[in-house]
Symmetry: C2
Subunit: 132 residues, 2 copies
DNA sequence: GTGCCACCTGTAGCGACTACAGGATCAAGA
DNA sequence: TCTTGATCCTGTAGTCGCTACAGGTGGCAC
């Protein structure tokens, strides 16, 4: 039941060792205690926190948002309006991005459809790109 | 009817001066002739090409794809199957990304809805982030 | 006590730009 | 012709979010 070295933390969370040290350097993951020789010693709390961080990043939360949520108490502590606000803000960004991509999708699809595919001098795709 | 200096090219295309020089360095924009003193001198062809590059980048085409399209003849020359293929490939990427974002959107939306917003000990948002 | 893996720090690399420093050139007015 | 000031030049370094490496130490089993 001794502490967890960085390599095991990496294996258990799927986060690169270098990335773990990077998260510590930029203040996302709290610095753990060290052995006499200077090796980092983590505990189960760190495992949970790092898993949380990883998942939040995968879901597209920015590093600043992750920091903000963790500073509000982090996983396992009380929920608050702020956490929900951050998530809602993120949802808004996702929706805007989806709308943008939807426009782009329609433009690309109709343009490609119009393209003959031959070597004709007029190409719908190139027209699309030229005429903003 | 003399040549166009880089500053005017920048203003006319909306592309940063530094970015224009960067595009030249990485082989996206062909190097223009120079004055005796070494200043770049562009023409209308460069204006069209750079506008094309800018628009393609805005639409999410990768630099490699832009290079590929320009190498196939670029704007004003004959269209070909390759251009359409590149656009179709890009469309595929856009659709995959939209599907991903759609999943994320539903997850976020339902989770936020479940969150009480108070300071209760169980928070749906934090649960979502913790339990991958 | 020795072998070897895991760990440490610090620095450099990625891509796609952007920003700056320090100097040269150009065009227009006096 | 000379001067002024805007524009331009090159080269280097910064950005973000990591990732990778080099060269050196710690921990632990045998």
């Amino acid at each position: 039941m001794t502490g967890i070295p960085i390599g095991e933390l990496s294996r258990r969370t799927g986060v690169n060792i270098e990335t773990i040290r990077y998260f510590e350097k930029v203040g996302i993951l709290p610095p753990p205690p060290r052995t006499g020789g200077g090796h980092r010693v983590y505990d189960e709390g760190h495992v949970r926190a790092l898993g949380f961080i990883r998942r939040a990043r995968e879901l597209g939360f920015t590093p600043d948002e992750v920091r903000a949520i963790l500073n509000l108490g982090g996983p396992g502590k009380a929920c608050c309006n702020e956490v929900r606000d951050i998530a809602a803000h993120h949802l808004e960004r996702v929706r805007v991005k989806m709308a943008d991509l939807g426009q782009l999708e329609r433009l690309l699809a109709t343009t490609i459809e119009q393209c003959s595919g031959g070597t004709a001098p007029d190409c719908a795709v190139i027209d699309m790109l030229e005429h903003s």
